[in-house]
Subunit: 153 residues, 4 copies
């Protein structure tokens, strides 16, 4: 299970700081990292007018993208390159114009190569907007070779 | 199962034409409707530099958004307002900068309120990039009240 | 969210007691209800030799069936007939001959008609065997008309 | 994509014949292999009274088990040990007492280690009962070392 000690948090923050500048999508959509640790991450995204669909609510694609990105910071926090392989999302309540959505990713389980993460996306008033579950695969390489291996947890 | 007669196709095209102008996300992402019929739709999207992630491949969120939008045109083709409730995606191969992705949605089954759709996303060379399956719910209202009910199929 | 007060637990126990005698599959597979409350249930099942597959580990179908049944007791606990509509399972570790598997279902969210439940299946040593997520639909009728409506929570 | 040549079909039949005698669950549930080829399989199962749930329809667990088993014969047809890692099912219509359910598995995509399979379960009258999608992982070892490698396709 994911560590939540101070050393793990500090390490995960360094990995996130290395990942973020390369993450064109996260930047272009205005995502902010609110919190990160080994196996967990919380990201926020303010809804923009160009994120709406024909029903004037947030396009499900942007809700998915926020959740998927939160999972990416959680699963890459160990500094081992890790990709989403499968993801599932349930849309519970619409996201509204003008609010800020928050996605919190936590690790359900993590093996040598396979991981499973749950992400909940909440609206500005705290209601559940979507529940996301994603499966990841760890591949070769480190997010930041300079950082080396994650602290044991 | 979805109709593929000429009357159904013509009706679905009119519904899509009514939906598209309100669809800020589809327009902003440069999506094009290549083909539409009752219960089916094919959309294309050219990959832009701001759609890449830190690994220089297309962010999974944009692949999901394209697939989700193809499902939206397929499931709304009957002119009854229909929303995605659940969706699942498997990422098979990365999407690359400079290519055009194509998403083809087909109806697996459609009941009074619930529908199930499969979407395959292919790359410019025809390889399978992602397989998506979504469940929909029909709600009150028509996409375009002026168009009335879909032809029986 | 699911209530966990004593009145809710007592009510849920009565609903479960009404459901169990009709539940041929649960009985035939030797499932036992360990705990139940509004929106939650924990069931146990001892692995029998006829539940193994060709690799001498528990057939995934029985793990799914246990998880699905735990969800059924959780989502029917309000005494409103409720069915599984979609379910997803990730197999994390094999189940072994001779051990007792435990499935714990909790409510992620519950609306007027739609619910979402997470179930974790653990082995006799506490390891995670499978993670299950299911979506439900409430239909007409009560599990036990004599019990009436669930206490507000 | 799965081969459907005669050599592939013959090979897949031999693999299935090697797998079946070890498959206690399939035998105990009375499953029959109707057809098998490289990357595909069709299985049938007659509904027994002990497969019903409290609503007198087939327990979803048995429908899942049939679909999962069809996938197992499809994905193991290459004679490389392959396991289900994730699976998703949508219940479309109830299965009824006295009918025979048929599950047909087809390969969506297959890589070196990862595969994706769709399974449709139909009732005796041909209606769609459930749609299943599963993701597999190939592990070390052959189903039947004596059979060797599958014919190229």
């Amino acid at each position: 299970m994911a560590g939540d000690g101070a050393a793990g948090d500090a390490f995960a923050s360094k990995v996130a700081a290395a990942l973020l500048p390369r993450d064109v999508t996260a930047k272009q959509l205005g995502m902010e990292i609110r919190s990160v640790g080994l196996g967990r991450a919380t990201l926020a995204m303010a809804v923009r007018p160009d994120m709406l669909n024909g029903h004037d609510v947030v396009h499900g694609g942007y809700i998915f993208t926020l959740a998927d990105t939160a999972m990416a910071y959680a699963c890459n926090s160990y500094n081992q390159n890790t990709l989403a392989q499968h993801a599932q999302i349930t849309f519970v309540a619409p996201g509204q114009a003008g609010e800020t959505l928050t996605a919190t990713a936590r690790e359900v389980t993590r093996g040598k190569r396979s991981g499973l993460y749950d992400v909940e996306v909440h609206g500005g008033d705290g209601r559940l907007v979507a529940a996301f579950r994603g499966a990841t695969r760890t591949i070769a390489g480190m997010v930041s070779p300079a950082l080396g291996a994650a602290p044991a947890n």
